[in-house]
Structures are given as structure tokens and as C-alpha cells.
């Protein structure tokens, strides 16, 4: 793969006076996500950077305003983004057992004009990428979900989704790590713990990891 020579889509903007957002693109794309993760890792090593978090196709950088300005850091990011990122190591593969008996499974199947079994078959056939860990502790945005399973979020989010619920929305899938409100369609559940408060890092999935679901009997 040739090195990316230029980054015409790189867009850097302030997020207040101590952070900035560097966007590498606007598409849900594994290559963009790989570059975002590599850029975040490179930025984290700088002394003037307090934290750098990769999004789907962006990096949010928290900087020390006594050591860096928005302009100095933006210039450094432009230089870093123009260099070839180090070869990304394949992320760890997590094998997740799922009992496909979610409250929304029948509704999802009906709306997609598929059988329950077909929904399960499609959901378990792909290896998903962890694009981003965030939102709530341990939550990971996994994707891309097959187009055949694409549905908008629920009109009315649930006020409480049980921990371990496996859900889909748009081109994404995920597992609720904690009992929280949620607007995704619940298709199953797993007993794998995603949020591990007494480990460091306190989550099972890391950005760049891969996830495969396996159907188990209830």
C-alpha cells in the first residue's frame, strides 16, 4: 500500500482552548480509522499532549495550554498526518458467545423482511472492528454491520437496557457494558464482561481490536 502523500481532507478545529479535533475524513472506513488510531498513538507520546482519543475518523487531542498552543499543535498534527503511519498490528480477536433472544429480534427480522435465523446468521458471519471505545465505560462501537441489517435507531430510546445486551443500529453493532438508557435494537445478550473496573485499562475491547459473535443456545 503506498504511503498517503497528502491529506486533503484533514480538518483541524478548536474544541475550546485546551483541546482540538483533527478530522481525517467523514466516511465510516477501516483505513481512516487505522490512521486515526495511529495518529492518536503518536500524539499521546508528546509532552504537550495530555490525551489523544481516536474517533471513527478523527482524533480529539487534549493539550497542556502552558506547553502548546492550538496553532503549534495543529502544525505538528499536519506534519504527523503527512507521514506514513507505522504498520498497524492486527487487533486482538475477541470471540463473544451470544444468546440471540433479544426483545427486538422478531421486530428487527420483520422490518428487514428476514427470518430470525437469517438475522442471526448475518450478524455472526462478519468479523467486526472496534472503531471507537467511548460514550460510557466499556462501550465499543463495532462495525461495519451488513447493510442487510441496517435500521435507524428506535424512535423512543429505552430508559434502561440491561448490561450484556447485544444491539444493532445503522451500520453499527455493540454490547451494552452497563445498565444504561439506549436507543439501539436489542437482538441478544452475552455474559462476557466488557467493563472491568479493577483492570487497567478497565475495558475488554480496545480501538482496533476485532470481534466475532457466536450463537449459543439459551
Amino acid at each position: 500500500m503506498p504511503p498517503p502523500r497528502s491529506t486533503p481532507r484533514l480538518r483541524i478545529q478548536p474544541l475550546g482552548d485546551t483541546a482540538l479535533l483533527a478530522e481525517l475524513g467523514t466516511r465510516l472506513d477501516t483505513a481512516l480509522n487505522t490512521r486515526a488510531i495511529a495518529l492518536a498513538a503518536a500524539l499521546k507520546k508528546r509532552r504537550d499532549v495530555r490525551q489523544a482519543i481516536a474517533g471513527y475518523a478523527s482524533v480529539t487531542v487534549h493539550f497542556d495550554p502552558d506547553q502548546a498552543t492550538y496553532d503549534s499543535l495543529a502544525a505538528a498534527i499536519r506534519r504527523l498526518a503527512a507521514t506514513r503511519p507505522p504498520m498497524a498490528e492486527p487487533g486482538r480477536l475477541h470471540r463473544i458467545p451470544v444468546t440471540y433472544d433479544g426483545q427486538d429480534l422478531d421486530d428487527v427480522a420483520a422490518r428487514l423482511q428476514l427470518s430470525r435465523q437469517k438475522v442471526i446468521e448475518i450478524h455472526t458471519s462478519a468479523i467486526y472492528r472496534v472503531f471507537l471505545v467511548g460514550f460510557v465505560p466499556g462501550w465499543a462501537y463495532l462495525g461495519p454491520l451488513a447493510e442487510a441489517l441496517e435500521l435507524p435507531r428506535r424512535q423512543v430510546p429505552r430508559t434502561l437496557v440491561p448490561a450484556g445486551s447485544v444491539a444493532i443500529a445503522g451500520r453499527q453493532t455493540g454490547i451494552y457494558p452497563l445498565p444504561t438508557p439506549g436507543g439501539w435494537h436489542l437482538i441478544g445478550r452475552t455474559n462476557v464482561k466488557l467493563f472491568l473496573p479493577d483492570s487497567d485499562p478497565p475495558c475488554l475491547f480496545r480501538a482496533g481490536d476485532r470481534v466475532k459473535f457466536f450463537a449459543t443456545q439459551a
Partner: protein, 310 residues
Amino acid sequence: VTVVLHVQDPGLFTTIQDLGRLNAISAGVQPGGAMDRFAHSAANLLVGNDPGQASLECTLSGPHLVAEHACVVAITGADFDPQINGVGAPSWTGLFLAPGDRLAFGARRAGARIYIAVAGGIEADRWLGSSSTNILAARGGKEGRPLKSGDTISIAAGPRRPAVSGRGLPNAIRPDYDDHTLFAVAGPQIKRLTVEGRSLFFGSTYRLSNNSDRMGYRLDGPLLATSGDELLSFGLVSGAVQVPRNGQPILLMADAQTAGGYPVVATVVSASLPVAAQLLPGDEVRFAEVTLERARQMRQTLESALATLR
């Protein structure tokens, strides 16, 4: 470790906080930490601690504490009518408590949160590099929960510098808590507002809804229409004003979610976050756009004020 204070009554919602755990946001753990970092840092500096030591953050009402050992404390932030043994005591200054002295509070007079620091630094559960209380994960601070009656407050060691009661931070160099103007720089998705929408946001008065807490403030006022496709989720910061599809802006605060995909139309600058931290549901607030250079000057003014205590 020495027990210095006994919690007779914790007040409405009192948690242990420090400057948060920015390192943990890559696991989706909220950064947390004191909402009003100026008041938190000042309280620590007033008693000779480093600004990063833990303090008590008390929301809406103050606790009732009894000194087990002699100690020096400082109360900063809001004005909840502090009293020692029933006699009014000043805020923003070091206060000596003798064994048996009672620190209590009357009615809330201004602001939303007070900070109480103790010379030597409050002992707390550390989790992922911080003593801040994370209620969702039930970790950090005091067993990951708000204080309750019967808890004790201990200090780790002697203060970094001799704790002297009577040191103060003059009113003139504190943030102007009475002016509810929040200064903000334009956000990455400001262009998703129309020109009219932008002047509506920066020109209108908003009111904190009842749905406002350490996670964020939902703002009642003119709804903001945003355009464009759904955004890919990205890392968020406290101070960000995001606009969900219903058009009601949300100001993200210390315990906000770490990522999201709604347009961020503005970000409140660090020097205005202490003012934001002292707002209550029902309070009116306005947003004023500033440049990064102006934001830097404002930040340095507050840093210089804290530097007078070092």
C-alpha cells in the same frame, strides 16, 4: 493516616473530587473531577496542598463536620453560609479547627457547589490514577459513592507547606461568579447552524433545565436547527455544547460521556467553566463568542490568581 473530621451529615450530595482522570477516557470512563476547578484548586492551595489533592465537592447544601483532630480547612466556591460552632466563618480563607469544633452550613446564598480542602489532603480510594468519585462505576473517592453520615475524613500526611489559617484569596481576583455569561469558542460543527442559528445561540438567554447535573446541562431556550448528515462519533470534551436532533443544546460538564456524534456548535473556554459549575437549574445563562487569544488571556488571569497562593 489520621482521621481529622467526622461526617455528622453529608449534605445533599457530597463527593470526593480532584482534577479527574483524563487518562481513562480511552476506556470510555468519564474524566470526572471537580466541576469548579478554580475553587477546588484554590481550596487546596489555601491550606498548603497541591491543587491536585482531593477535596469535598458539596452540591446545593453543605455538610455538618466535627473535627476529631486539629486541622486547617478552606471552603471555596459557592456561598452556603459556613459556620464554625454556630458563628459565621469566611470562605476563600484557611480556617483552623480545634478538636470538637463543628463546621456546618446555613442556607445557600449563592452558587451551586462548595469545595472543602483539608491541609494534608483528603485520603480517598484511587481508581485509574484519580481520587475522583465515579458513581456510575462505583469507584474512587469514598467507595465510589457520595458521603453519608458516619463517614470519616482522613488525611494522608502533613501538608506540603505549613498550613496557616487566615491566608485568603481576595474577591477581586476570583472568577466573576455573578456574571452568568459563558465565553465560548466556535465549535467544529458551527457551520451546521445557519447564520441566523448562530446569532440565535450567541444572542439568546438560555435557562438550565431541571435535567442538569455533573454530566451536563440541558438548556431551555431557542431550539437550534442543524443541517447535514449524521456525524461519525468523535471524542468529546467538557464545555462542549452539543445539539441533538431535537434542537435543545446540552452543555457537557465533568462527568459527560466521552464520545458522541451530535454537532458541537461551541465549546465553553476553560476560564468560564468555574462559572458554569456554579449554575443551578433555573439559572439564566448567555454564551458569548471569544477568540482563542482572548480565552488564553482569561485562563492566564485565573492562573495568576491561583499563583498568589503558591
